[in-house]
Symmetry: C2
Subunit: 149 residues, 2 copies
DNA sequence: GGCATAGTGATAACGATTATCATTATCCCA
DNA sequence: TGGGATAATGATAATCGTTATCACTATGCC
């Protein structure tokens, strides 16, 4: 006798979506990911919405927020919240970690990384028996343009 | 002939308040500063309001926000905005700069500072022709308690 | 005491974000 | 190649932290 065991098919709801499996194809999410990767980085949700409207004139702001959360869950985008409390987004995944130098005059973001600082952060955490999973280093000040000359 | 030149008396409005000169005495501000210095640090405005209500049962939340902004302007308090976007406050002035290790499980804040990291941040900024005025380093992860054992 | 005005509290307004819900688009399967 | 299940969407209400408004009170100075 042959016993055939068939796995019950998982409905969409039960599938894992945090890594994009089980998610349906969506022109809005693709457009928003395209805005992230093709435009200048560090955009707010509102700025992303404005840029997306040029491609999909009827896309709503709620969809932008949902898509950004989705893409962050997939690891295709990263969110960070600077001192003004308004979330900003940049493409992620293939991109390496970096910190930000934020100009308080023109608002520009300079991406920078110092391997030695990264290493010392791990040491600092260990010194306090702290298991680090992520960190945020933001340096506020004036970019070379705004500092004059 | 003697010419007497009298300086016009400056009204309150014209006086400098950012360093607390010209400010009237206020039991609310004193209570809030006391909450900051006597309680556990890193409180939100709402938590500060709750603590202040025990001393001044009629103090309003707007007064708390105003007082916190005032105290930050005086240099007697410092505000910082962690990843959840909700501002938190700690006493400042006599206190030295420090960074934060923030537990994502219990929400506790560990204060830490590494002079070498501070130095390297200046170097990193200089490398990008950036004039730093302040910085924020937050390390997220698990405190020794929450990491188990 | 009396005046000018800083400080206060209640509450409305605000901006960013999230929840709700009816409608639409996508996927899977017969 | 439909048709049904349901994920995705857009309009909009709701939420949350924070700020603005305004009538009223407390303070400091003469
Ligand atoms: Mn970046
Ligand atoms: Mn602290
Ligand atoms: Zn600049
Ligand atoms: Zn903890």
């Amino acid at each position: 006798m042959i016993i055939v065991i068939t796995m019950p098919k998982l409905p969409f709801k039960a599938r894992e979506k945090s890594d994009c499996l089980g998610a349906r194809r969506s022109t809005r999410r693709e457009a928003i990911l395209d805005v992230l990767t093709s435009g200048p980085g560090h955009l707010s949700a509102e700025e992303i919405h404005k840029a997306a409207l040029k491609r999909l004139p009827r896309i709503g702001i709620a969809t932008v927020y949902r898509a950004l959360k989705f893409l962050c869950g997939c690891g295709k985008a990263a969110e960070f919240i600077p001192a003004d409390g308004v979330a900003r987004y940049e493409p992620a995944g293939s991109r390496a970690h970096h910190d930000h130098l934020i100009c308080t005059s023109c608002g520009c973001f300079i991406e920078a990384v110092d391997p030695e600082i990264e290493r010392l952060q791990v040491r600092l955490a260990a010194r306090h028996r702290f298991k680090p999973s992520s960190h945020k280093l933001e340096i506020y000040g004036l970019c070379s343009n705004c500092a004059g000359k």
